[in-house]
């Protein structure tokens, strides 16, 4: 008997959504619901040339894994995958993927949502904006709304 399958990857290259989803239910009949979240780089109305994503190697993986371990227990997930890219990301490209599988739909929704909220506020990644002319802009500021989103998961 193995526990829920957690897979965490921090990588430069893009990911394959379909393959990650297919892997969740392959060879098993207890998965009834799979929710995926893909976070993409927006072009900010044409003003953004790219994002430069800096991360803390080692801690980035460890922190996402801690979030995932909490999520599989709390929501009774069958499998959970989280992939976060780093380096230069162009508008329209993928930044992050979370895939949660469970027998029932709400657990899969909540699991993926929970992971994103905690990943946003606790995984050591930082975004720097690069203008359309290639010059470095400012660092993206953290949002209070992200802290609020995380805090709604606190149990009473």
């Amino acid at each position: 008997m193995t526990g829920p399958a957690i897979s965490v990857r921090v990588q430069r290259q893009d990911f394959d959504l379909a393959a990650e989803v297919a892997a969740m239910s392959e060879g098993r009949g207890d998965v009834g619901a799979i929710v995926t979240f893909s976070g993409l780089c927006r072009d900010e109305a044409g003003t953004l040339g790219a994002l430069e994503l800096e991360h803390y190697p080692g801690m980035a993986e460890a922190e996402i894994r801690r979030v995932c371990e909490t999520a599989v227990v709390r929501f009774g997930l069958i499998a959970l995958t989280a992939i976060h890219r780093h380096g230069r990301i162009l508008p329209g490209e993928d930044i992050v993927l979370v895939v949660a599988a469970s027998p029932h739909r709400q657990a899969a929704f909540d699991g993926a949502n929970f992971v994103m909220d905690f990943l946003k506020t606790s995984a050591p990644f930082w975004k720097k904006e690069i203008g359309t002319d290639g010059t470095a802009g400012g660092w993206v500021s953290a949002k209070d709304a992200d802290d609020s989103a995380r805090d709604r998961w606190k149990k009473d």
Binding site: G39, A60, H84, I95, L119, K120, S141
Partner: protein
């Protein structure tokens, strides 16, 4: 005196002007907050980087800690701004 490896990220890294360094810590530096205050005495770059002390996040051995956490036993201490991944 003990030595510790410090690593910096994002605008903390840019303002201090280095990715990482080893520094010797006086015995008076007990908590993460003490460390920030000590670093601010090391020059203008540090002062500018750590000016808004309350927004600086600290990780000891790759785990988040509060500023009042003791740093004894730390191999690696990271200082960085609030995270903006995802």
């Amino acid at each position: 005196m003990s030595t510790v490896r410090l690593v910096y990220f994002a605008w903390v890294r840019e303002r201090i002007g280095k990715d990482e360094e080893e520094i010797a810590l006086p015995d008076s530096v007990v908590t993460a907050g003490d460390l920030l205050n000590h670093l601010k005495t090391l020059g203008e770059d540090y002062e500018m980087a750590l000016e808004h002390e309350n927004v600086i996040r600290v990780a000891i051995n790759q785990e988040h800690v509060e500023h009042d956490e003791p740093i004894a036993g730390a191999r690696e201490i990271a200082l960085f701004p609030p995270m903006t991944g995802g």
